[in-house]
């Protein structure tokens, strides 16, 4: 039995178990229902608004954009929050105490975060399609684009989420450090209204980060080709999307392993005890 193969298999099994736990947990399901409801309300409100200079309802642009944004939320906030919480509660120390446990833990987390994100994307998409049946015109190639953009988007964001989760002191700061920038970036990335409405320099800034490209990529997957005229330079820019998301992915995958190793090396019972005391003080 090759240890690496064995560990990978254990990580997959672990990821699947964690996914099952999350999908059957009333707490997680409640949160998921809440999120989907918020998005549905937004789509309902935008249903009758038309995009400037087009006959498309604004909601048709917003649904794919939300899917793109959600990939980034899951990648950054999901990864950072889970890692910070599981450092605090001792899951990581547990993993460290068994041979190859850290590798198994990480594989498991990547698998479960990806599966749970996929599940959410499907739910949001189904809810959206019920409201906007016209979107369902995307052909097989559209679904393929959706898949590669979502997968590359996760790769571009998840390692950075893991880096943040490794560096922060508490789950609360993980949440703050990821959600606040996410909200700001969402506001300038053309998620809830076309980016062309914003000043040029803001558009430039937005194009540095993955969220804009995730939104653009998934719009290109689900909208008719004619809708590309509404985008910057009137094109879906698949090559640029792949390049920007790919660069973030490569950089993240280079930076995350040493940061994770350093974090893992520092995990110990007494470090955990300190965090536990801090946690108890935060929640009287």
């Amino acid at each position: 039995m090759r240890p690496a193969v064995h560990t990978a298999r254990l990580g997959l099994a672990r990821g699947w178990t964690e996914t099952r736990h999350s999908l059957t947990s009333p707490q997680d399901l409640g949160w998921n229902v809440f999120v989907v409801t918020v998005f549905v309300v937004v789509l309902l409100l935008q249903r009758n608004a038309k995009v400037d200079g087009s006959t498309l309802p604004l909601a048709m642009l917003t649904l794919p954009s939300i899917l793109g944004m959600w990939v980034a939320v899951a990648g950054y906030s999901g990864a950072a929050g889970t890692l910070a919480a599981e450092r605090e509660d001792g899951t990581l120390l547990r993993a460290k105490a068994v041979p190859q446990g850290m590798v198994g833990y990480l594989v498991g987390r990547i698998v479960s975060l990806s599966l749970i994100t996929l599940f959410m994307l499907v739910i949001i998409l189904v809810a959206g399609l019920l409201l906007l049946p016209d979107l369902a015109t995307a052909g097989g190639s559209g679904w393929l684009v959706l898949l590669w953009v979502a997968a590359l988007g996760l790769l571009a964001t998840l390692p950075w989420g893991a880096v943040i989760g490794s560096l922060v002191r508490s789950p609360n700061s993980a949440f703050g450090l990821t959600m606040l920038p996410l909200i700001a970036l969402t506001a300038i990335s053309g998620i809830f209204y076309p980016i062309s409405a914003l000043p040029g320099w803001v558009q430039e800034v937005a194009q540095v980060f993955p969220i804009y490209w995730l939104g653009l990529g998934i719009r290109s997957a689900l909208l008719p080709d004619a809708a590309a005229v509404l985008e910057i330079s009137g094109s879906w820019r698949h090559l640029e999307t792949a390049l920007v998301l790919g660069s973030w992915a490569v950089a993240g995958l280079l930076i995350a392993p040493p940061v994770l190793r350093r974090m893992a090396r520092r995990e110990s019972g007494s470090a955990m005890e300190v965090r536990r005391q801090q946690h108890l003080q935060r929640t009287p």
Binding site: M1, P3, H6, T7, L10, A13, R14, T17, E18, H21, S25, E86, D89, G90, T91, L93, R94, K96, A97, V98, P99, Q100, G101, G104, E267, S268, G269, S270, M272, E273, R276
Partner: protein
């Protein structure tokens, strides 16, 4: 074990092979020495208790031996390997009982044990099958009725027993326990002590256990190491410690209704004198050797005082 053979200086003298060897271990946090030159050896099959007040450096020592913390100086060998460089093969031979809190809350007891146990499968040897049979282990720690429960629903004591089971699931040759019975009720403590005895008898597991609980140390240990102010200040069986360190026995008697107390290192000689001098007049004779508690208090106080003086001298 070629590594051990090369270092003849620490060669075994009688009992089993050394499983843990610590020489001049130091740990500095900033300007404070948590450990200032700790030495000790643990041999195969021994149950050793690291006893000391809170803050004496017990947890630090254990974490260094577990490979969870890097030491500042000194030599440390655990199963023939420097823990700072221990690989996964080494890790698989060691069991760590963690003070868990609320990790894996959604997992069921049997599922988690089976999952964590699977990591040890590639490290099985002909003499030591790995991992442990999960149901047998659940039975051993008394969680059979909770096997299908989620961890969030376990009581504190049940959770600690699961911690022990997780520490054992890889059939470790060496087991570390840090304050294992903190928060146990008396029955759970008793059960846990039985479990430790069984482990060392049946599985030939070497056990290093840190506690600040004297009764527990006395109950479990073949040998007790007392740690105070970052040093091992005493090393021996409970009996030896009581003799070696306090050395004094207390003799009480009465004569003509008057009561006397005398402390002496040589109780037998003193009593012989006493009878030679007063004969039948001596009544209510009682000889009490210093208990481990007296010893421990004496040692701990002596070192705390020294520490305090050192601090105020600065």
């Amino acid at each position: 074990m070629t590594v051990l053979d090369k270092r003849g200086a620490f060669a075994p003298d009688g009992a089993g092979d050394p499983v843990i060897e610590v020489r001049g271990l130091r740990m500095r946090y900033g300007s404070r020495d948590a450990l200032s030159g700790v030495d000790f050896t643990v041999r195969r099959g021994e149950v050793i208790t690291l006893l000391g007040p809170n803050g004496a450096g017990k947890s630090t020592t254990i974490e260094i031996l577990e490979g969870f913390r890097l030491r500042s100086a000194g030599e440390v060998w655990v199963l023939g390997v420097d823990p700072a460089k221990g690989d996964e093969r080494w890790r698989a031979r060691i069991g760590v009982v963690l003070q868990s809190w609320r990790d894996h809350g959604r997992w069921r007891v049997r599922d988690l044990l089976a999952h964590l146990g699977s990591y040890y499968r590639p490290y099985a040897t002909p003499e030591r099958e790995r991992p442990h049979d999960v149901d047998e282990l659940i039975e051993t720690v008394g969680l059979a009725e909770q096997a299908e429960q989620r961890l969030v629903s376990l009581s504190g004591g049940q959770r600690r027993r699961l911690d022990v089971a997780i520490g054992l699931v890889g059939r470790p040759e060496l087991l570390f326990l840090d304050e294992p019975t903190a928060g146990f009720d008396p029955q759970a403590r008793r059960d846990f002590h039985d479990l430790v005895h069984r482990l060392s008898d049946l599985e030939d597991t070497t056990i290093l256990l840190a506690t600040h609980d004297l009764a527990e140390a006395e109950q479990l240990a073949d040998r007790i190491l007392i740690l105070a102010a970052g040093l091992v200040v005493a090393d021996g069986s409970a009996d030896q410690l009581a003799r070696q360190v306090a050395g004094q026995a207390e003799v009480r008697w009465s004569r003509h209704g008057e009561r006397f107390v005398h402390a002496t290192p040589d109780a037998t000689g003193f009593v012989r004198e006493l009878f030679a001098q007063y004969g039948d007049e001596v009544a209510d004779l009682e000889v009490r050797r210093a208990s481990l508690e007296d010893t421990y208090m004496a040692i701990a106080h002596r070192h705390e005082r020294a520490e305090l003086e050192a601090v105020s001298a600065r």
